[in-house]
């Protein structure tokens, strides 16, 4: 564990990313304390520019809503939706990939056909259709994002399982008489974990982008103030109040960038050990 942290810390980008990410999480958690009341409330004059009034440091939108409050609550939404949908996608993907990779045969074929189907379909288009048809709500959004995100995880887990299954230490586990379930959980899965973790972290970033795209198109949950929604609402005011579009977009950019940096740091920290063959 200590080695892992040391290697992670060596990657300066990852450390910066972690700092930014923790900041975003901090803002998200403290939103209800900093701004009690809903971000939908009209609290001041409309279209105040940022850095003008200390009470509304990021200005207000055309209905007089506090942009800073909106961004704080937006952080909640983005993190919540992306983390949950990624978790669901990872669980589904790991299950399908493990079954396909370990068993092989017709089960593998069938599951791979299904996976390929979901992977070929344009993801955003499918998410849009699903959310539209099932009416936008936090459940349909999480479900839609999870549904379009699980295929890469399944493919990764399957290929890891296929290669690990042939590895000699797994064969050894079979030979000493361990049951298949035990082998999967104690031998194969822990060694596939690092790839899964790295993929999952990058998926959180993609989920944030997808969620903001959906909200931008008007498919967000009506009750939840989201960064994408804020940008979408600001479209008509591009000339007069450009900051309304710029600020939430910056928030998305920074958060996604931070997560990508963390993902790269994880990748460096978890995979430095290429098998040590003695140099010949």
């Amino acid at each position: 564990m200590k080695d892992f942290l040391r290697r992670f810390m060596k990657n300066k980008g990852a450390v910066v990313g972690l700092a930014i990410f923790l900041l975003v999480v901090g803002v998200a958690i403290s939103a209800p304390f900093l701004y009690d009341g809903s971000p939908w409330m009209m609290v001041a004059d409309p279209l105040m520019t940022p850095f003008q009034d200390a009470q509304y440091p990021l200005g207000t939108d055309m209905l007089g809503r506090d942009i800073a409050a909106g961004m704080a609550y937006g952080a909640q939404v983005s993190l919540l939706i992306s983390l949950i949908s990624t978790a669901v996608a990872v669980i589904v993907g790991v299950a399908i990939g493990a079954i396909a990779g370990y068993n092989g045969g017709w089960l593998d074929d069938l599951l791979m056909r299904i996976t390929e189907f979901f992977q070929t379909i344009p993801q955003l288009a499918m998410a849009v259709v699903l959310v539209a048809i099932f009416t936008p709500s936090i459940y349909s959004i999480v479900g839609a994002i999870a549904l379009v995100s699980w295929p890469p995880v399944a493919r990764l887990v399957r290929s890891e399982f296929l290669s690990l299954r042939q590895r000699e230490f797994v064969q050894a586990a079979v030979v000493i008489g361990l049951r298949p379930g035990r082998i999967i959980f104690t031998q194969i899965l822990p060694n596939a974990m690092s790839s899964i973790i790295i993929t999952a972290s990058l998926m959180v970033a993609t989920a944030i982008l997808t969620e903001s795209a959906l909200s931008f198109l008007g498919l967000g949950d009506r009750n939840m103030m989201s960064w994408g929604f804020m940008i979408g609402a600001a479209r008509t005011m591009l000339r007069e109040a450009a900051w309304m579009s710029i600020l939430p977009g910056l928030a998305i950019l920074l958060t996604v960038l931070a997560i990508n940096l963390i993902g790269e740091g994880l990748s460096d920290a978890l995979n430095p050990q290429l098998r040590n063959r003695g140099e010949k």
Partner: protein
């Protein structure tokens, strides 16, 4: 073998040192190494893994990775110090004055470029053989290295060729411009023994006709005995001994050299006889295993008989060797015996019961009686489990109480000569030989009646190999366990097995005691296999001398 000419050396390495990055236990990859390569000779550089032999060779060509810089020394060629040359000067030398061939033929050729083009590239780079002469030269070279049908082959992509053929292409590329020096970095290590014999013959023939100096790097003393004029021995980055071949092979001075030579298997048996009349522990009859590939609507599937009607028995306390080259089916037999693969025919009687038709779950309770020791010490232990966990997992899964399993595990660590503290450490803290010992202990933890050793010493250095073999023999004598020893090295099999079976393309072509097989082989293939064994004459000499 030609005698070295008493003129100035072709290549001279003086006091070469290459520093290793970081703060490992070793500061230098190579330290203070000096030796010469004379005209028209084959110089063999011998050493185990980590000896620095490859690094020395790469330093000559200036092909070391950027984190390994030579910190001192000279490499003199043609009056110039190669270490002080610029990249563009070195480019002019590479391929033209000095040629190099590498170890892994399967990955050493560009997969998307035709073979003929890759050979022509050398000439193109150095502006040699312009125009139609180039094509001619390519065909000439392909014929020189013994490749069939050069006209067609030059248009093939590498994936069409076998390992041996690819290595011949490499040799053709290295020799295209008739360099003064050929550096061969373990060129036959990844090849089958019969292919190895052919490539060695080719190299010797070419060396004689072109009069090149050849620097041949290897870890196999048998190969050295067959082709070397002079020998350099390296250990952990230091040059420990050098001299004329006959002298080093017959009267080595340095203790490391002596140890290395003593560890090379002689092909003379060292087993103690088994009590006659013991009932067979394992009785295999007509074993069949087939693979079918491809096959679609219009094409019939291609069926490969990996194991084709193979029968043998193994008695208690006896070791049966199964010898063969790659693709012979020997590994498949091992996997079938342990039911790691399904069996397509035949019977496997273990302790009287046929285990072949059993399902995985029906067979599981019996698994403890048949255990395996794997080939790759770096892949056969779960990197995330401690040694203690690795040793106790099996017994606990088979119903042994934890305390008892732990006690047994610690006893086994002592039996395989590992220190007690190993129990709580992770595999990556141990060397290859030590990991194999853990693998042996794991197999023994279940107190099996039969051990299958699938190329268990092939990935080890020769000195470590000797130790592990001795350990296996010791264990067999003490515990009376039967063993099936799968290997590609006939010398090793002859040394430790009571009986040997020779596999060729799925069939067991010969079966008998090592003496019978070595002195009186009945099949043509066995004869070829025996002839291809490197260093036969030398082995015989040594064995006779030690009697």
């Amino acid at each position: 073998m030609t005698l070295p000419e008493p003129s100035s050396p072709l290549l001279s390495i003086r006091n070469l040192s290459v520093r290793l990055p970081g703060t490992g236990e070793r500061s230098h990859a190579v330290k203070g190494v000096s030796f010469d390569l004379l005209r028209g000779e084959i110089l063999c550089i011998v050493g185990e893994s980590g000896s620095g032999k490859s690094i020395s060779a790469n330093a000559i060509m200036g092909l070391l990775p950027s984190y390994l810089r030579p910190e001192q020394g000279e490499i003199l060629f043609d009056g110039q110090d190669l270490l002080k040359q610029s990249e563009s000067e070195l480019l002019a030398l590479r391929g033209r004055r000095i040629g190099m061939i590498f170890q892994e033929p399967m990955s050493a050729l560009n997969p998307t470029m035709r073979v003929g083009q890759q050979i022509a590239e050398v000439m193109d780079t150095h502006n040699a053989y312009p125009g139609t002469q180039r094509q001619q030269r390519v065909l000439e070279l392909l014929e020189l290295v013994g490749l069939p049908d050069p006209r067609t082959l030059q248009h093939s992509y590498p994936f069409r060729l076998s390992g041996g053929q690819r290595q011949r292409v490499m040799i053709a590329m290295a020799l295209a411009l008739e360099p003064d020096i050929l550096i061969a970095d373990e060129p036959t290590t990844a090849l089958d023994v019969t292919t190895q014999a052919q490539i060695l013959e080719l190299i010797q023939k070419i060396q004689r006709s072109m009069g090149m100096g050849v620097m041949f790097i290897t870890h196999d003393f048998g190969v050295v005995a067959d082709i070397a004029d002079r020998i350099v021995v390296m250990e952990k980055g230091l040059l420990v001994e050098q001299g004329v071949a006959a002298q080093i092979l017959d009267a080595p001075q340095h203790p490391y050299t002596q140890r290395l030579i003593a560890a090379v298997p002689t092909g003379r048996s060292s087993v103690t006889a088994v009590a006659v009349g013991s009932a067979p522990v394992l009785d295999v009859r007509n074993l069949m295993k087939t693979y079918s590939t491809g096959g679609g609507l219009f094409k019939p599937a291609r069926v490969v008989h990996a194991v084709n009607d193979v029968s043998f028995t193994v008695a208690r306390g006896e070791t049966l060797g199964i010898v063969g080259e790659s693709g012979s089916g020997k590994s498949s037999i091992g996997k079938c015996l342990l039911k790691l693969q399904s069996i397509d025919g035949g019977q496997i009687f273990f302790d009287g019961q046929d285990i072949a038709p059993l399902s995985q779950s029906a067979f599981r309770p019996q698994r403890q009686k048949l255990q395996m020791i794997f080939q790759d010490p770096f892949a056969s232990l779960n990197p995330r489990h401690t040694v203690g966990r690795i040793l106790t997992d099996g017994p606990i899964a088979n119903g042994v109480p934890r305390a008892e399993a732990e006690r047994r595990a610690r006893e086994l660590l002592a039996l395989v000569e590992l220190e007690a503290s190993a129990y709580d450490r992770y595999p990556n803290e141990f060397s290859g030989g030590q990991r194999q010992r853990v693998g042996i202990a794991r197999a023994l933890a279940l107190q099996p009646d039969l051990l299958v050793a699938d190329e268990s010493v092939s990935a080890l250095d020769v000195s470590v190999q000797a130790q592990v073999l001795a350990l296996l023999q010791d264990i067999q004598q003490r515990l009376g366990v039967a063993m099936v020893f799968i290997t590609h090295d006939l010398r090793v099999a002859a040394q430790i097995c009571h009986k040997v079976g020779v596999m060729h393309q799925g069939c067991m072509v010969e079966y008998g005691t090592p003496e019978q097989i070595l002195s009186n082989p009945k099949q043509l293939y066995t004869r070829r296999l025996i002839d291809a064994m490197p260093g036969k004459a030398w082995d015989r000499q040594r064995a006779d001398a030690s009697v």
